[in-house]
């Protein structure tokens, strides 16, 4: 399965809408185990993505992902900016290959997160949503239940990366805010694929 430009644009637009409407939820999740600004930072990024896409309509998938990456890198700040930015930038480079399957695309983004954050699954981060989604796409079993299960798994993990890691055992029982914003990204993807 491949994602065409028109659908990819819808995907990013839906993601941006979810970030804007869920700012408070993301801030609250971050207040519990971080510094409380993930929603504010992602909303700033979302507005930047919208503005960049309106300024210049992307003509290729590579353009779309690169524009998204640059807006995130320049406006989000914190750890989430470089993480989302790297994922989309790596996806932008890879998508120039026409044969790239959607599952490969998401795996490339996931690998970008691992490289930038020097992290892997099981550390209570965004990767704990991205990797299961990538695996499910490969197995052609991607639906909402994959995201729900990933978030439930994240909740039970002890953070070993990022600011939440200082809380050690106390980080258990909370959803990682980056995992939640990643869940919005892939819920948007389901909405696009479902059409």
């Amino acid at each position: 399965m491949k994602l065409e430009l028109v659908d990819a644009k819808k995907w990013i637009t839906l993601f941006v809408e979810k970030l804007e409407s869920n700012q408070t939820i993301l801030n609250e999740l971050d207040t519990a185990i971080g510094d409380g600004d993930h929603g504010t930072n992602m909303k700033r990024g979302a507005e930047a993505v919208t503005a960049a896409l309106e300024k210049k309509e992307p003509e290729t998938l590579a353009d779309l992902y690169k524009t998204t990456a640059f807006a995130m890198i320049q406006k989000v700040g914190g750890a989430s900016g470089p993480l989302y930015g790297t994922a989309f930038l790596d996806m932008s480079k890879a998508v120039k290959n026409d044969d790239l399957e959607l599952s490969d695309l998401i795996q490339i983004g996931t690998d970008g997160l691992k490289r930038r954050g020097e992290s892997d699954t099981g550390m209570k981060t965004m990767i704990d949503v991205w990797q299961p989604v990538s695996d499910a796409l490969k197995a052609d079993k991607f639906d909402q239940s994959v995201i729900d299960a990933a978030l439930e798994n994240v909740k039970g993990l002890v953070a070993t990366k990022g600011r939440a890691s200082y809380l050690e055992e106390k980080s258990k029982g909370h959803i990682d805010p980056g995992a939640q914003s990643s869940a919005y990204l892939f819920e948007s993807l389901i909405e696009v694929l479902g059409e």
Partner: protein, 330 residues
């Protein structure tokens, strides 16, 4: 929340604007950024390795206050308690590179590390040689592979002073990175809070302490510490922190430097009282203090509290610490 501000979202640009306009002979703002760069005549005359630092705002005078001859070449300010973005860091790097490369001084927070890393990749694509040192002097946090590791706090100011002075003396990039890492390995800090900081966008203190309570081991972004206890006389607080820090040094002979750092809301009067007690206790323990500094160097907005930094130092480092600089705030 009572703060002397306009709009919350304008805090950083308005602060930087005020800072550069009141210190125009020392620093200028890099167009389109909230980064500041040296503006003194010596900057162009004496070619050296560029030294760039930066991080979230709210720790003033760190880092912009330390831009000048003998310290930083440029500093990049992010949103309050949020790392600056790579494009801004990249602008600062290109503004200070004089062909001898650029050293980045980063505090150990995942956001700062990643954003500076991306900026490094961008600058390397322009064939600018970059090295990075990461400050992690806060010993209240375990240095564990299961966490981000120790945080960078007040000791950062000492790193910037020593490395900045060495860069001015003509040291090359590789040696500066080695020196910086060695300095970092010998700096230990621990902080206490009497009252948490209020982040403007949040509007209330990050945590609550009783009227007679203090918290040991706090970070500079309202990170909680390891114990909440009743306030005690300054002398006992000094002894408690010294005991914790000295455990980190196996060899207590030779030169040491100390930094008593106010967190933003604690009067200098109290900082000097605490420093007096620190010097008494170190003298009793036969620890030789060859350099001392007291003041609000690395703050946490309006937090009331203090941190103590102790560094085991080579004779050269003491010399670098004592050299005069032309900055806004050292």
């Amino acid at each position: 929340m009572k703060k002397i501000i306009n709009n919350v979202e304008d805090i950083v640009p308005e602060m930087i604007s005020g800072l550069v306009r009141t210190n125009a002979d020392l620093v200028k703002q890099i167009d389109g950024t909230t980064a500041v760069v040296r503006n003194d005549p010596k900057f162009k005359e004496n070619k050296q390795v560029g030294i760039v630092s930066g991080g979230g705002s709210g720790h003033e005078p760190l880092h912009a206050g330390y831009v000048g001859d003998g310290m930083l070449s440029a500093a990049v300010a992010g949103e309050v308690f949020t790392s600056p973005t790579p494009d801004q860091i990249y602008e600062a790097i290109t503004a200070v590179d004089q062909g001898q490369g650029v050293l980045l001084i980063v505090k150990n927070y995942s956001g700062d590390v990643m954003n500076f890393d991306m900026a490094k990749e961008m600058a390397e694509a322009d064939d600018i040689e970059i090295k990075t040192i990461v400050v992690d002097d806060d010993i209240s946090v375990k240095n564990s592979e299961f966490t981000q590791g120790k945080r960078g706090v007040a000791g950062t100011a000492l790193v910037e002073k020593i490395v900045g002075a060495a860069a001015r003396s003509g040291m090359n990039l590789a040696d500066l990175a080695t020196l910086g890492q060695k300095v970092i390995d010998n700096i230990k800090t621990i902080g206490i809070a009497l009252h948490a900081a209020t982040v403007p966008a949040v509007g209330h203190p990050g945590f609550e302490l009783g009227d007679d309570e203090i918290e040991y081991g706090i970070g500079i972004h309202n990170e909680r510490g390891y114990a909440v206890e009743k306030i005690r006389p300054a002398k006992e607080l000094a002894n408690e922190l010294i005991e914790k820090i000295l455990k980190e040094f196996s060899d207590q002979s030779g030169d040491f430097a100390i930094l008593v750092n106010g967190m933003g809301g604690t009067p200098l009067m109290e900082q000097y009282i605490f420093a007096n007690d620190v010097l008494n206790e170190l003298a009793a323990k036969k620890v030789k203090v060859s350099f001392s500094k007291v003041g609000n160097l690395v703050t946490s907005l309006d937090m009331q509290g203090i941190s103590l930094t102790i560094m085991k130092a080579d004779a050269d480092w003491i010399k670098y610490l004592k050299e005069p600089v032309t900055t806004i705030a050292w």
